[in-house]
Symmetry: C2
Subunit: 148 residues, 2 copies
């Protein structure tokens, strides 16, 4: 091996190291990728219900320190950015659903024993609107405007 | 320069190229960084107002195709993720404020001529709650629960 070939060999080795070190991460295999956009949804929900005046303090106290298991189930059920507001006897809720089967996630939440125990305390505080849709507790509202 | 030194020199050169090529971007100077967190705020607002039954259709029609200038001013005023819902004569609004001076941003919005023209159409559709705070049009609601 003469000097020129030795230098060429060293250069080739370093080029290889350079290429390997700088190469971007390989894309993940299909099985590791998140589910495709067409199976995931994002939907905003606005709902309303009345709160009994004599139960307002209790309702607020419960929600000021909600049970960790209830919060965990909310997250597990793909609900995000969930707020409840109060004014003049009405409770308004806003949340964003990020899963791919709202009905199934809500059915699972309704089977959770901690959530059931929580609802045994919160349901008696509330008075559902008579105009709610069949099967609703909180009445769904109509979105008339949205701007990101 | 003997063979060993030649190889060492070539190695040093490639190491330099390798280090320069793989070095991460330099951090931006302080002046290019976003404003620090203590001058920016993030606050959610829930508000409620009534809509006159005879004006509901007009209100919904306006909000189904809002004026670009109105939307631009909303964005300029640091309001994000803004929704309005309707149920049983009530409108409920939810938005997130991301600026650093809510009062100033709202005052600027109120000075915008396009927004003023828009409000000349939407205000007559609404009936503010008698229990709203002085100076309010939409009545602010109390946040009793939030979960991210």
């Amino acid at each position: 091996m003469n000097v020129t070939k030795t230098i060429q060999f060293a250069a080739a080795c370093y080029s290889m190291i350079f290429l390997l070190a700088c190469a971007p991460d390989e894309p993940k295999s299909i099985s590791e990728e998140p589910r495709s956009a067409d199976t995931l949804t994002f939907k905003r929900y606005g709902s309303v219900i009345k709160v009994k005046p004599e139960k307002l303090a209790e309702y607020k106290e419960l929600h000021a320190d909600p049970w960790p298991g209830v919060l965990a189930q909310i997250t597990k059920s793909n609900i995000r950015n969930y707020s409840i507001y109060y004014k003049d006897g009405y409770l308004f809720s806003y949340f964003e659903y990020t899963g791919n089967d709202f009905e199934a996630d809500m059915a699972e939440m309704a089977q959770d024993s901690v959530t059931q125990a929580w609802w045994k305390l919160t349901d008696p505080c509330q008075e559902p609107l008579s105009t709610r849709t069949d099967g609703e507790w909180w009445a769904s509202m109509e979105e008339v405007f949205h701007h990101d």
